[in-house]
Symmetry: C2
Subunit: 391 residues, 2 copies
Amino acid sequence: MTLSTPGPTLGVVGGGQLGRMLGEAAAPLGVELVVTDPTPDPPAAPVVRDALVGAFDDDATFRELAERADVLTYEIELADPDVLERVAEETGTPVHPDPETLRTIQDKLVQKRRLSAAGVPVPEFRQVDSAEDLREACEELGYPAMLKAREGGYDGRGNVPVESPDDAESAFAAIDGPAMVEEMVDFERELAVMGCRGADGQRDTFPVTETIHREEILRESVSPPRTDDDAVLGRAREIVLDVLDAMDGRGVFGVELFETTDGEILLNEIAPRPHNSGHWTIEGCHTSQFEQHVRAVMGMALGTTERRAPTVSANVLGDVEERQPATLVGEESVLSTPRSHLHWYGKHDVYELRKMGHVTLVGGEDGDAESDTDDLLGEVRALRDGLTFRQ
Amino acid sequence: MTLSTPGPTLGVVGGGQLGRMLGEAAAPLGVELVVTDPTPDPPAAPVVRDALVGAFDDDATFRELAERADVLTYEIELADPDVLERVAEETGTPVHPDPETLRTIQDKLVQKRRLSAAGVPVPEFRQVDSAEDLREACEELGYPAMLKAREGGYDGRGNVPVESPDDAESAFAAIDGPAMVEEMVDFERELAVMGCRGADGQRDTFPVTETIHREEILRESVSPPRTDDDAVLGRAREIVLDVLDAMDGRGVFGVELFETTDGEILLNEIAPRPHNSGHWTIEGCHTSQFEQHVRAVMGMALGTTERRAPTVSANVLGDVEERQPATLVGEESVLSTPRSHLHWYGKHDVYELRKMGHVTLVGGEDGDAESDTDDLLGEVRALRDGLTFRQ
């Protein structure tokens, strides 16, 4: 990569909040972004060179993106890997991570099979193509179990718990397509690790993060996790390195894990991109997950993943009943609290549980009284809970 | 200020590297930038909503900027205060800092008189309108003295040292306009403090920084300064608070100071905007000078100015003889050194001593062995010196 102007250009499929934060992170490195998104004026628009409008499988806009860019990436799994692959071949613009990796991850069953074959510990799972399959699988896995659509689910959408054999028909009908079922994991806590594959086989992980979900939507991230079991955290890191080895292409991967009540680590899911559970790295690490993704896909050296201080983040979710133009109320206390950082994604409309922004709170340096993450979590929740949307 | 989308908009006169770093800092706060600059595709362009093209006194583009913006500011002193004032009155869009402050600062003689009258210690100075004036003034101030153009000088341009009475004619002819002359200060070191005026009379200062110039161009910034004289640093901060009291309007002010060999602090110059000597705050503080400027001018609460760790920055200056398209060589070592940060300004052309970017190196937390700023300075110089432009 050569730094000249106009800078090296990264073409990004998707212009949501991840694209916006990629734009914020790319500029200091001299990298310009062009994004494509089905929505005009998406969140990334104000901080990128250009925002094209096109569907996530639109050949023409992917081609324009590839022609303007030195490297292609995606910030949403809905990007069509076939179109990406074809456009990359025809224009010579490489795609990272590899479209084959995207294809593997898009299908949760294929993802689990690949990782399991690579020796990564995963919850027990079965392919399910009918209600009958589901009942049979649950005989082995036990009840309750979690039925998952193989494709397209996110933030809990596409997941249906199955409590008993009587649920099988309705659960399978709710998914209405290819599915898999997993044993319900009895977890102590959920963890996430942002892993990264760089050029020349470089791989690294960010510090382990505790994630807190409600209604299967991430609410808060806490780093370091509220545990002093270093062996568990070390095991989580080792597993993520194994995950990285099983993937192709460069980039950041968000890896969600379960820490079971027995102290085991099981892989939950992977995202081939920066992930909500890594937003705390913007202020909490010397290199953010967004800068790291830009470095990785552009072929620059990876930055250090060292944590600067204990750090927590809380998502700001839509709290309105009807979809409507978004106006945030109550940000003054976030802005006036030292070491608290507001991140507004610039979405035009708010609806219930939509991710509209996040608040990050940085603690004192390790060893300080202020570094207790349980206290920080309480504070950031209070700040976040002070935010609301005008009805 | 209300956070909705499209976000509150800040109109910035000037789209250089300061505008670019303002754009990087504004997005998380939900603030969009529109800039105006005489140069098409200026450094800020890839990270702002729009870059208008117009001279720094162009009524029509200032008006368009004012109509699109909620608040106006400027990142260069060449912005015309009369046009800003008129456009602000006609459109109702406020300008921060106040155009009257800009007018005062633009004329170094008026600036010094205002500050001296406010009780701020300044080097001895005299108004100079002829070579004869200059000789008379130097009789009192002693030789050598520094002749300065009252308007338009920067990075040492417009400054001419006067060694003896024989120099008076040629020195005055070199300035060729209204001038002032100052005693040459015998300084131990140069310091800088970024001050900030917020809404409701809020004022604050960032930690004191040591600045190192060569050929009157800033080369490196070191924070904290390489001194253990806390009284001197405390005095510097007090003087900057006095400076802030003498200014009107909100915003960040870059204040350059001399620490004399007697341990006194004298004011050198003020800039009514983020300043090169504060670039280290991007990684070195919880709030950067750019975020602080956005907060201040938009009327948000100021962020904490606390330093996270000892931090040094080094400017990357053009090292070519002829103006030519810029291609940077050697950035790999900056990118692969932990805690080192590259900032590329995206300027199309390079010429001798042009500010093209900077490198920031963050130390360990205070008290660590790694926190010695003299060592950090040596390291960041080595990183910076490894960068060159393709001839």
